[in-house]
Amino acid sequence: MSARGISDRVAIVAMGCTRFGEHWSASTDDLVIDAVRECLSAVPGTGLADVEAYWLGTLGSGQSGLTLSRALALDYRPVTRVENYCATGSEAFRNACYAVASGAYDKVMAVGVEKLKDSGFSGLTRADPPGDGTAPENTLTAPAAFSLLDPAYCAKYGVDPADMRAAMTHVAWKNHANGALNPKAQFRSAVSKEKIDAAPLVAGRLGVYDCSGVSDGAACALIVRAEDAHLYTDRPVYVKALALSAAPGRAAMDTGYDYTTFPEVVRSAEDAYRQAGITDPRTQISLAEVHDCFTPTELVLMEDLGFAGRGEAWRDSLDGAFELGGRLPVNPDGGLKSFGHPVGASGLRMLYECWLQFRGEAGERQLAEPRLALTHNLGGRPGACVSFVSVVGSELG
């Protein structure tokens, strides 16, 4: 829990984002170059040499700052590579913001990239330190770990498994419908509920459409002091809150943990809301980009982030609360469902949607007068996660 936070002290003044997808013909370098070029093209007169320091988020497409400095041929600038599971891209952004807020730099860039489709495997692969072979994550895949939420949620709240299935289907249907409106998404077509329900099973009751895709992509943000923001753009995005929570690993061993919540998300959301002065997220937040890695995850997140009451997210979701025209649009850009999850890039891709929405550049997905937006990433698995929450806004104060 941060004592102060850095609300309104830094701003995003330019962003870039590649299309996400199976970029067989593009390398990690190509993705980075394309995202950074788009970003800098929005701020004429500012070049790579003007950016004082860089943060690179990538899970496995590089291991040091050299991945960025070599690709961009940077002039001996400081580059820090960060990694924090699925919150990696957000972590690059968070640390870059702190560097400006500290006064050390006036102008920095956060870049996230992931090249997943060179591995030869359809899902995410892991590179763990040597171990004794007993950890469940040694064999159990991520969709299986998150599918543990489904029976537990049904049991706790007495939800008919058919209703829960319908709610999970609705999440996939909604996010694909949103992604169909987004030219940068990996999947750009709506998917019928019948097709979602009929998909082959992956783990538990999760079918292929309950899982986010696997793609390549890169995104980046140029971050400056809030007082300098209008030197670059007339519509900057101000950082209101940055919160991160890493689990002690208690829940995985705790007989009191019931697999219907992520304690890390609750904690990071509390921290972020306090920093941003948010008391009623349901009414104060205009849109949220959350970590819909699997459909039951999004349902649980609605409750952990305070967007729905406990045991109510499944019904609220079916009632349309989180659709583009609903009371709180969630994943208006299509989410991980439509974008896939190039780990290092996802957090910045979420911010990119907030950036477009605040500037009125979200096309068919454009929401009316958004003021505050939330982004959220979750890394790990139920029982022990890292959770990131940011709040960004279109105005100071």
Binding site: F121, S122, G123, T125, D128, P130, G131, D132, G133, T134, P136, N138, T139, L140, T141, P143, A144, A145, S147, L148, L149, P151, A152, A155, L201, V202, A203, G204, P248, G249, R250, A252, M253, D254, T255, Y257, D258, Y259, G383
Partner: protein, 457 residues
């Protein structure tokens, strides 16, 4: 004749059964009715041995003699894994008698002479369509030898004879054994069995034994030798030939049924013959295993023939499109021996929060290095939530994982063995079982799973 008698015993039969009819239909041959007992994909002679041994053990045995014809490792002592899984710490001898069916009686005689635990375990495999495949059985039995005042059965006599001839043999690395014409083996064995049996009975002063057990990898021998040594009490129903475990399973079945004062003639014909005469004592009623072999044999769940062949490596199926998991690294595995092999976590001495695996810093109260060991291998638990992972790398997908709350505290997410996805439910009762999770990089990854509880004790 010896200072050590059997003080405890237990048998373990894996749950899967391969229907002969299923096998016959797949191969287009007549295969008769009935079934064979089949170890699951995650079981080997070491894990079978652990399951039998932990049921028989009442305290540190002093020594472990482990017999098998299907050692999981060569050039490494498999009995050491048993020793670790039994949570025996550092003390004592643990040694393999690996090679032929005779290793089984070898282990019994060694434990009888020195005191200690004889563990006989085997996974018997034959080529598709072979008599070994159809008539074999997988299983394990363990016998703890101790002081005569505690014995449920005393060893009254033993006679061993040895002969060198080719009846059954296998080169290291070959998937199945070769056999000479069975009648040659029969003619070679009969004089050996006759001699050893007569001498042993004479030595023990027994004229007509109450129970007779004849075991041999040569299928003709058992039938003929039984006629040479008639028993007063008819033999029980046994699984097929279980290699080095065969004599142990047969003896366990006799002890399940024998009355005080009764005599047992055990004849094991393998590259010679070992004849043992045992006398059952008055303690037998208290010393019988809780779950008799006949009941273990009657239980079971079917496995499809194609699945069985895949488990045995005889059908090379397309692997999951996932990277092979990492092999268990030696130093971390050694550091976590109590956890990985004995399923022992820790409980905070201050706040009692249970940690699986053990931790130094308490996740309940933050106390540092205030932990006490929490052994859970004999503790049952309840399923909190579950999944069937169809994407995971598994030798037999889907991989079922359950979150288990153990009775008295402690939670872990682990694999469910011997079950199919449709059987899993919240609230299901489960118990730990020692298994091989997978083999990667030429290294077995042993750890505990849970399996459905068949009956509450």
């Amino acid at each position: 004749m010896t200072g050590h008698g059997i003080v405890a015993y237990a048998s373990y039969l894996p749950r899967h059964r391969l229907r002969h009819a299923d096998l016959g239909a797949a191969l287009g041959v007549k295969s008769g009715s009935g079934s064979r007992v089949a170890a699951s994909f995650d079981e080997d002679s070491t894990t079978l041995g652990v399951e039998a041994a932990r049921r028989a053990l009442t305290g540190p045995p002093g020594a472990i003699f482990f017999a098998t014809t299907s050692p999981a490792y060569l050039d490494k002592t498999n009995a050491a894994a048993l020793h670790a899984a039994l949570g025996l710490g550092r003390d004592g001898l643990a040694v393999d008698l690996a090679g032929s069916a005779r290793s089984g009686t070898g282990a019994l005689l060694a434990a009888a002479a020195a005191g200690g635990l004889a563990v006989l375990a085997d996974v018997r495999t034959g080529l598709p369509g072979s008599a070994d495949e159809r008539g074999g059985a997988d299983g394990a039995a363990a016998f703890l030898f101790g002081g005569p005042d505690e014995a449920i059965a005393e060893l009254a006599a033993r006679v061993s004879v040895t002969a060198e001839f080719l009846d059954r043999w296998r080169l290291p690395g070959e998937p199945a054994s070769r056999r000479w014409e069975d009648r040659f083996g029969l003619e070679s064995y009969l004089p050996l069995v006759t001699e050893a049996g007569r001498r042993a009975l004479q030595e023990a002063g027994v004229t007509e034994p109450d129970h007779v057990v004849v075991t041999s990898p040569n299928p003709l021998v058992a039938r003929r030798a039984s006629a040479l040594f008639p028993a007063r009490v008819p033999a029980g129903r046994l699984p097929g030939h279980a290699g080095a475990a065969d004599a142990g399973l047969a003896l366990a079945d006799v002890l399940d049924r024998a009355a005080p004062g009764e005599s047992v003639l055990l004849l094991a014909a393998a590259d010679g013959c070992d004849a043992l005469v045992l006398r059952v004592t008055g303690r037998i009623a208290q010393g019988r295993q809780a779950h008799p072999l006949a009941a273990q044999l009657a239980a079971g769940r079917d496995v499809a023939y194609a699945t069985y062949l895949t488990w045995r490596g005889l059908l090379d199926r397309e692997p999951p499109r996932r990277p092979e998991p990492d092999l268990p690294a030696a130093p971390p595995s050694a550091r976590s021996q109590a956890w990985k092999f004995a399923f022992t976590g820790s409980r905070c001495g201050r706040c009692a929060f249970a940690h699986l695996p053990a931790a130094r810093v308490c996740k309940g109260c933050g106390a540092v290095d205030a932990m006490e060991p929490l052994p859970l291998s004999a503790t049952r638990g309840t399923v909190v939530t579950f999944t069937a992972d169809r994407l995971a790398y598994s030798p037999s997908p889907p991989l079922i994982d359950v979150v288990v709350d153990f009775d008295g505290g402690g939670r872990y997410t682990m694999e469910l063995a011997d079950a199919s996805p449709a059987e899993v439910a919240i609230g299901m009762r489960v118990e730990p079982t020692f298994r091989r999770l997978y083999t990667a990089g030429g290294t077995h990854n042993y750890f505990w799973k849970v399996r459905p509880v068949e009956e509450e004790r």
